[in-house]
């Protein structure tokens, strides 16, 4: 198995609040890793640290062996230039919790923007790819629509198509369904399930425990900035070893 993401000694503080406290974390390529935990536990911060949206105070992140956001120079980790970081990000897809498509651009313009600008894909080819991706997420007919004309679930599926358009090595999902009403959650999870079946490397921060049990290969439970427990879902979600994990899961049911 190849390591897709490696996080070592990750520390992040906001004032006196230690959001990430020496977190070590590994995600395998071709697998789905689910991060679960209570609100404020640091799970979103960990996810955002992986593509350097949240720079770490200390510790480091590698994606497929490449340091993210920093470089090793004379025995120290130094922050990369903004341009270099942006270039790295275009290899890593990110789907946000809030629906943040670009409202003034049509669905297709949202999708082709990054490939055309950052990877210099010819526009016609990008549009063709966008059509294929929209078909994949079940929205082939929404090509010309503007985001506000779509339901929350449809918007989130477009956001997934937008992330996929960069053909990323890895996709990060930050609670992709928590802004949606229960009826729309299913359609988004279906898309993620299909991606998992196709062997896409994904890290998903989620509150959908049933979904994590079904789709994830590896589950990480995080609380107060530390990883409490991790392992296959059959272990962490069904027969957890730690009281804290049991307490958290008990509250969800």
């Amino acid at each position: 198995m190849t390591v897709a993401v490696k996080v070592r000694g990750a520390v992040k503080t906001y004032g006196t609040n230690r959001v990430l406290d020496e977190v070590d974390f590994t995600a395998q390529a071709g697998q789905v890793t689910a991060i679960i935990g209570p609100s404020g536990s640091g799970k979103s911060t960990l996810l955002r640290a992986i593509n350097h949206l949240e720079p770490l105070d200390s510790g480091y992140v590698t994606v497929r062996g490449e340091l993210i956001g920093v470089r090793l120079h004379k025995g120290r980790l130094r922050e990369l230039s903004e341009r270099a970081i942006l270039r790295q990000r275009s290899r890593i897809g990110f789907v946000f919790q809030s629906l943040n498509l670009f409202p003034h651009l049509s669905v297709v313009e949202n999708i082709i923007e990054a490939p055309v600008v950052t990877q210099r894909v010819p526009k016609q080819q990008a549009i063709k790819q966008a059509k294929e991706l929209l078909a994949k997420v079940g929205l082939a007919d929404k090509f010309d629509a503007y985001p506000r004309q779509l339901s929350g679930g449809q918007q989130q599926r477009v956001a997934i198509a937008r992330a996929l358009a960069l053909e990323p090595e890895l996709i990060l999902f930050d609670e992709p369904t928590s802004a949606l009403d229960p009826e729309l959650v299913g359609e988004v999870l279906t898309v993620i399930r299909d991606l998992a079946a196709a062997g896409t490397t994904m890290i998903v921060v989620t509150h959908e425990i049933g979904f994590a049990r079904e789709v994830a290969d590896h589950v990480v439970f995080i609380d107060a900035g530390r990883i409490v427990e991790q392992g296959p879902p059959s272990q962490v979600l069904v027969a957890p070893e730690h009281d804290r994990t049991r307490e958290f899961l008990g509250k969800l049911v």
């Binding site: 949206l53 943040n100 003034h104 049509s106 990054a114 950052t118």
Partner: protein, 326 residues
């Protein structure tokens, strides 16, 4: 013992049932009838009052000979007035362009993370919002009293070219420069307000996609900010258009300057001349308002689910439904 009298319940059942129409029955009967809309008698009353007042005003304007409408007609398209009008347009156009460019630059400086750029932009805005335009123009017009020569060279070092301040700064230049400096300070705050009105998550989404910094602003932030900027900037532009009238103190003959100087030559014609100026300013302001309307419509793409029809489209569809036009 009670067999002779018929049972009580039977007797009651023989009584004719009173036909009682309930509200539900009534509503059932009426359900296919149109609802009578609420009448608004006070709307009619208020409209009547306003129409009477307007009629009075129109009457006062047209019947008072002191307005000298024939003189107004004479002056309205006189070449000297048209020249002034063109100068007003030039001054407005140039200062609007320079002012907006400067404003965007200042807004980006204020929003940058560089504390030096931030404070310089803040200080510029503070200073030029504090100086009355008329004072600024007089300072610039008298620049030779401060600096007789201006030179281009290494800062604090030798200079390569030297100009006489008087040659470089004609009154025309003074006007454009003064208006632009003033305009940039106000435009900066308008642009900044537009930029900060765009949700932070848009920038985050753009940078998660790896879009270069400039592209994030040009393609994602500014188009959305523009929607908030247009109404405020249109206000500012209209203010600028009328503000150009201040430059007459540098003896530059723009629209108001012409009106003012002609009134001093042609005694007794001040009222028609002022009306000429007023009507021209109204015409220009109206044109700007129309442009504003269509720009707002264009930049509302995606912000509204459906863009409402323009007044022309509404008129056309109304005419079509009444069968007047086909």
């Amino acid at each position: 013992m009670t067999s002779s009298s018929p049972p009580k319940p039977a007797r009651e059942s023989e009584l004719p049932k009173p036909v009682e129409e309930t509200t539900d029955d009534l509503i059932d009967k009426l359900q296919s009838r149109k609802v009578v809309p609420l009448r608004h008698p006070w709307r009619w009353a208020a409209s009547l009052v306003v129409v009477v007042l307007l009629a009075q005003a129109a009457h006062a304007l047209t019947t008072n000979d002191a307005f000298q409408w024939d003189a107004f007609g004479y002056w309205f398209t006189r070449p000297v007035v048209v020249e002034g009008l063109l100068l007003t347009l030039q001054l407005t156009g140039l200062s609007a362009v320079f002012g907006l460019l400067g404003g965007i630059l200042l807004a980006l400086m204020r929003l940058s993370r560089n504390p030096v750029l931030q404070s310089v932009a803040w200080a510029y805005i503070w200073l030029f919002r504090s100086i009355p335009l008329i004072v600024l123009l007089l300072f610039l017009a008298n620049i030779t009293a401060l600096y007789a020569t201006l030179s281009l060279g290494i800062p604090f070092g030798p200079s390569f070219v030297e100009f006489s301040a008087n040659d470089l700064l004609s009154f025309y230049m003074v006007a454009v420069l003064g208006l632009s400096l003033n305009e940039a300070a106000y435009a900066a705050e308008i642009v900044r307000s537009g930029i900060i009105s765009v949700d932070q998550s848009q920038l985050e989404a753009a940078s998660a996609l790896g879009l270069p910094k400039g592209r994030q602003y040009r393609r994602i932030i500014l188009p959305q900010a523009t929607r908030a900027i247009i109404p405020a900037y249109a206000n500012q532009l209209i203010g600028l258009l009328k503000g150009t009238s201040v430059v007459y103190i540098t003896s530059l003959l723009e629209l108001f300057g012409v009106v003012q100087s002609q009134a001093s030559i042609n005694s007794g014609q001040i009222i028609p001349l002022l009306m000429v100026g007023t009507i021209w300013y109204i015409v220009l302001t109206s044109l700007l308002s129309v442009v504003q309307y269509y720009l707002e419509r264009y930049f509302s793409r995606g912000a509204l689910r459906t863009v409402p029809p323009t007044p022309f489209q509404r008129l056309r569809s109304r005419l079509r439904t009444t069968g007047v036009a086909r």
